[in-house]
């Protein structure tokens, strides 16, 4: 099955969860993990690994991280190394893209196509008004 794990700093994941809850609802295949001030890299990594352990071996996972290059991103990207083709890490997605990810359960697209699509949505669902 496909899963989405949202991770970020200081309540980001919880904020995304609440955002989805209000607009479209939170599906069971989505998970939310926040890096707290008390976490160091190893402790956070252990928390992410504990979550991933509950997944089935053939599950496909998209990690959605708040910031490119930051700790949650690094932990996720490192997990993707050993799960090439099955796990992908995305960083800096916007609310529209994440909302689309909350509706991928029955998607025909592959996990990689979904990852690419989320990046594209982020680029197109950003605007300035007046132009």
């Amino acid at each position: 099955m496909k899963r989405v794990v949202v991770m970020g700093h200081g309540g980001y994941a919880e904020g995304v969860r609440k955002n989805l809850e209000m607009i479209v609802g939170v599906p069971e295949f989505m998970h939310f993990l926040d890096l707290t001030k008390e976490d160091d890299l190893d402790r956070f990594k252990a928390r992410v690994e504990d979550l991933v352990k509950q997944f089935d071996d053939d599950d496909e996972v998209l990690f959605v991280c708040d910031l490119l290059g930051a700790s949650p991103f690094r932990v996720a990207a490192e997990l993707c190394i050993s799960k090439a083709g099955k796990y992908y890490t995305l960083a800096g997605l916007n609310a529209m893209a994440i909302m689309e990810l909350s509706m991928i359960e029955d998607s025909e697209l592959s996990i990689e196509e979904l990852a690419n699509h989320a990046v594209e949505t982020t680029k197109t669902a950003v605007a300035k008004f007046p132009e």
Partner: protein, 163 residues
Amino acid sequence: MGKTYIRVDDRLIHGQTIVAWCPALSIKEIIAIDDESAKNPMLKSILTMGVPQNYKTHIVTTEEAKKLLKEESPINRLVIVRFPEKLEELKEEMEQVEMLILGNIAKRPDTVHKVSGATGIFYLSDRDVSIIDEIASKGIEVCFQQVPTTSKTTWEAFKKSIN
């Protein structure tokens, strides 16, 4: 000639460093020392993905870093190590350093000192303290500071607090 700064941060290259410290210190080149990551191309690419391309970025072994630091540089450089013990291997290179900035440093089995507050959370062992003491005694400025806009704790102030 460019200036050289050293940061101790167990996260090695981190957003706080790139977004806050590099502009504040006019850094143009980043030399991150981590033997494990330097030998693993995948880890290397994960670390450098978050660094904008206008910085020259190196993820290197201690030996490679020594070579890089031997060459004079016209631009400001930031050397990043994960833990204070690495500084012992860089004694010669320390002589050209302007400032040692202690960033995030995680708890380890032998860490008995803790500094926490707006400056971040830092854990130091007695050995770390003596290594940094030696550096401070050479007249290099040493401080704890998470980002340039948060408060700074000088090494002298920290030393007074543990005595």
